[in-house]
Amino acid sequence: MNTNKNTNKVFCLLLAVSIVLIALRLTPAVQGLKQLVYSVLVPDIKISSNLFSKTGSLLLNLSNIIKVYQENSELKNENFRLKQGLTDSQLVLEENIRLKNLLNIKETKNLKPIFANVIVREPTQWYKFVIIDKGFKDGIEIDNPVVAILFDGRTCVFGRTTEVYSSTSKVALVTNPLFSIPVQIKNLKVDCVCDGYDSQYLQLSFIPKSANLNIGDQIVTSYLSNVFENGIDVGTIVDIVKTNYGDYQEVTVEPYTQKHSVYEVAVLIKK
């Protein structure tokens, strides 16, 4: 009973205080009380608020990092695809140029071009043979001249057919030791023979010591060739050795076909 009385007294007191607070809410005393409680509580509120905002910003940063990582990997993939596309289009462009150049080959009186793709080039036979995708069905015969087209549009000696099958042919390259062709130094009108020797270079035979050759001189096919027409580019002189013995110079030629990759060729067949 006594406890109840105390409880009620406390309740009345608290009610009175509350009502006084409401009534005097703007008086300096109440404002002071408010300030006091506020100063006790607000640091805690600030700390927790900072804690929450920092946690929030941490989570935001984390999600941003994940987003950036995802975006980065997507961009990398896209970059890879674009690079691949660029390479593909570059290859297509190069092929386009080569094919356009092939189309520039003019039919001569006796010969017409049959366009073919190089389909096999074995590493062990790198300087000797290639297989092309045209054969006797297309009119190709043994010992037909095969020419390649350079990027600048010039035709150059590539080789000659040595074996012909129904839809493929084996071409002996200009660098093959079996390959030998009469050639001419373009400006000097000096005739000689060009031989392959299973390397990236060719050798010129029968050039007299008196002939004034220079490095860089161009070699073209001669009138004496019964396979190739005259004037087809073969290569350029890269080395000249004049020895004390013998009557001839030792001249090394770099064929044009070694300077460029050749994927399409033209077999010149009789009309």
Binding site: T3, V10, F11, L14, I22, V37, I45, F52
Partner: protein, 164 residues
């Protein structure tokens, strides 16, 4: 030890009630549950009138300090809610969810009633949102959310209480 726990609970509740809503959208904020009143009612229902009214007074005063509402209005409302809820101590089965909901409903109604009466009697000069009568659908919805959550929150309080 009890004082330290009480202070700890006090700060936790203040953080839950005042800090977390800051990071919520405004439309959810208005429906945010009144955890402090739940604690006042819980304390009153379990510990009696004296503890209930003092808890109500302290928490109400704190609310008034931290809000821009009419100063003293929550102190009065929570004190009365604590007193009324405490008067049901030992008279009702306080572990029954329905009892908890009913007592909480009384506390909520009293608080809102006092708030609205105060607004009517003295148009607030400190408050930004001056309303003629606050009983809108939002208030009703807020009360319903509070009542729905009451048994769960009381269970958490009870678990915490038993551990100490």
């Amino acid at each position: 030890m009890n004082y330290i726990i009480s202070i700890l609970i006090f700060f936790i509740l203040i953080i839950i009630q005042f800090v977390i809503p800051k990071y919520m959208p405004l439309n959810i904020w208005t429906l945010y549950p009144n955890f402090i009143l739940m604690f006042v009612v819980y304390t009153a229902l379990n510990k009696g009138i004296m503890r209930g009214q003092i808890t109500g007074f302290v928490y109400g005063l704190t609310w008034d300090v931290l809000s821009t509402d009419i100063f003293g209005v929550r102190t009065l409302g929570f004190t009365i809610a604590g007193y009324l809820a405490g008067s049901f101590n030992k008279k009702l089965n306080k572990n029954q969810p329905l009892t908890q909901i009913i007592v909480m409903a009384i506390g909520l109604i009293v608080t809102h009633l006092i708030l609205n009466i105060t607004y009517v009697i003295m148009p607030a000069s400190e408050t930004v949102f001056v309303q003629n009568f606050e009983l809108s659908y939002l208030i009703i919805f807020n009360i319903l959310i509070n009542l729905f959550l009451t048994p769960f929150v009381f269970k958490i309080f009870l678990t915490f209480d038993r551990k100490n």
